[in-house]
Symmetry: C2
Subunit: 389 residues, 2 copies
Amino acid sequence: MISPMREAAIIGVGMAPVKSTSGKSLTELFMEAALEAINDAGVDRLDAVYVGNMMSGFLQHQEHLGPLMATALGQEGVPTYKVEGACASGGVAVNAGVKALLSGLDDIVLVGGVEKMSGFSTPEVTTGLMMAEDRLRVGATGITFVGLNAMIARAYMHKYKVPHEAIAQFPVLCHKNAMDNPKAAFHKLVSVDEVLKSPLVSDPLRLFDCSGIGDGSAALVLAPVEVAKKFTDTPVKIAASSVASDALSLYQRPDVTVFEGSRKASERAYALAHKKPEDVNLLDVHDAFSVLGVMALEDLGFARKGEGAKLLKEGQCERDGSLPTNTFGGLKARGHPVGTSGVYQIAELALQLTNRAGKCQVPHPSVGLSQSIGGIGGTVAVHIVERLD
Amino acid sequence: MISPMREAAIIGVGMAPVKSTSGKSLTELFMEAALEAINDAGVDRLDAVYVGNMMSGFLQHQEHLGPLMATALGQEGVPTYKVEGACASGGVAVNAGVKALLSGLDDIVLVGGVEKMSGFSTPEVTTGLMMAEDRLRVGATGITFVGLNAMIARAYMHKYKVPHEAIAQFPVLCHKNAMDNPKAAFHKLVSVDEVLKSPLVSDPLRLFDCSGIGDGSAALVLAPVEVAKKFTDTPVKIAASSVASDALSLYQRPDVTVFEGSRKASERAYALAHKKPEDVNLLDVHDAFSVLGVMALEDLGFARKGEGAKLLKEGQCERDGSLPTNTFGGLKARGHPVGTSGVYQIAELALQLTNRAGKCQVPHPSVGLSQSIGGIGGTVAVHIVERLD
């Protein structure tokens, strides 16, 4: 690689509220977030539209979301396509948008994630989620996506002798944070005890260990740093956009308690941004399941393996702690419309860094990091963002 | 936009034969093309893998093709994702790969298109193809994808007073060219008379007006121009990679006999490459239906509206003509595994430009142009390639 010749900034963000049932079409969902982002940026044109989505082909029998959305926005003509990386589809779509901008070919870029999961039966959605895994070798066994993550949780708890109580602090934190996020799907405090006593989904994972899927959309407007201040007084620089993969399936990995994709993507992101983990003071991680939130703290370099939950216990991940994490509620409580979460995360970091996070605001964030996971870690997108002053 | 700081070159190409039924999985198909391209390039590492595909979620219930394919290649770890733009998925995947390379972030990039359409009923595949259109507003009427193209053909023939006989020259040309392509799906000469007497599919389109779908995969290895000569004596420069969109649906367009996406994408490509249509002496266009091949000759700037078929009649599109077109058989006779065709086109242009096209070789090509269409022109990807001497 060589150093890109320019840098990308976020000049507008938009988010539709996450709902278990929105009553809206894919296009309506996308438009809600995209128009908010466009208005926030104050742009009167787009040079490109990139759409992150995982399940529209399977669930809605609708592909070609690029021109579908560009047309709805009145922007037919622009370069546009859909980008898919399972549950990290939003994260990798941002990566595609950033690369397009850094190439010099696109200047004002809209990146949006959209997913509509309501209106389908549990078997339908379960089959859809398993599209993230190798269908012929793993899906065909009948194991579910929660089941795969339960195997990770069991291995993690055993290897590092971490009790469920420790991991359960993650959803407790997220539910607390989501109370202040009007766009979150869930506004309900839960305790560690309630997590541990909630219905068993796939041993050892219980209901409150699992994020809630739903309908949602989030969008960013990107511009080159050098023009960003023309549009907003508070642009946010994307200091790094990094995607890494891992062997797709658990059986192909030497150690299922580490996501090598998280390590690789974050190591590259730190190098690109000239940052270290200790520079990060705002975090948004992919807590689709409680154990993934804890593992993220480790794999991204904030704690040693097996010690992620200590950060939670010490209060470091609270909004007034040293590493505020999932400050809008995370996948667990903001909600996880799968192909959108990677965009929600970055939109939330941008609001925090520009002091526009409302009741979710943390005191003085300067450097934020997001981690978006596809499948069981087969894809990981990491972004580092910082305020441009 | 600003000028990219470097240029992309093709250093390796690979193609699986197109078959109506391959008996291979998505992964096996992809590997066949990808390994051929990697061996052709002689690279021992990849920095990124981008996969073009339209229908795997709907047909195979398989998404997350990025790490699925990267893992199969032993390249787990690299940035990877799937790129989708309906039948132009291959073309837009190449665009994503080129932008990644031009950004400076990726150097050695594999771009592959893969599609497996065998093993499904006609209603299933028909529903799948209609994912390219707006399902709620157009798909719900029950019209098929062939039906939409038939409406275009009818409008075109009426507006420009072009008889079916003239349009039918396109499949005749493609079938003739495919006779020399061992990887083509069809090895059968057809005459204009046979096209006109073949079974009616959707009036006025008959069987031999329509390309054949199937299973296939094609791949390119890209590298920065400045290092390309380390790998091959015959690199091919990607002088332009351009994607444009149009209003997704026919009812949203003032004139269905023009693809504005083709015009916009090619105008930008000519500007990026500092070329004019008259500089192009090798062409590969998206002839999913005979009328689209004729329209492409016009919308890309080689003929006035209504006069595309004259080029065919004058023999300009023959291999020994001034504008050799679809020299390996095009979508019509090489075959059209939808998400792959945009990559096959560029691979074929690269073989021609490096004098490796075997019996399909044309005399002295120097500048090639490919046009890949998604849906009924909602997405168009245009690439201009030239030999690097």
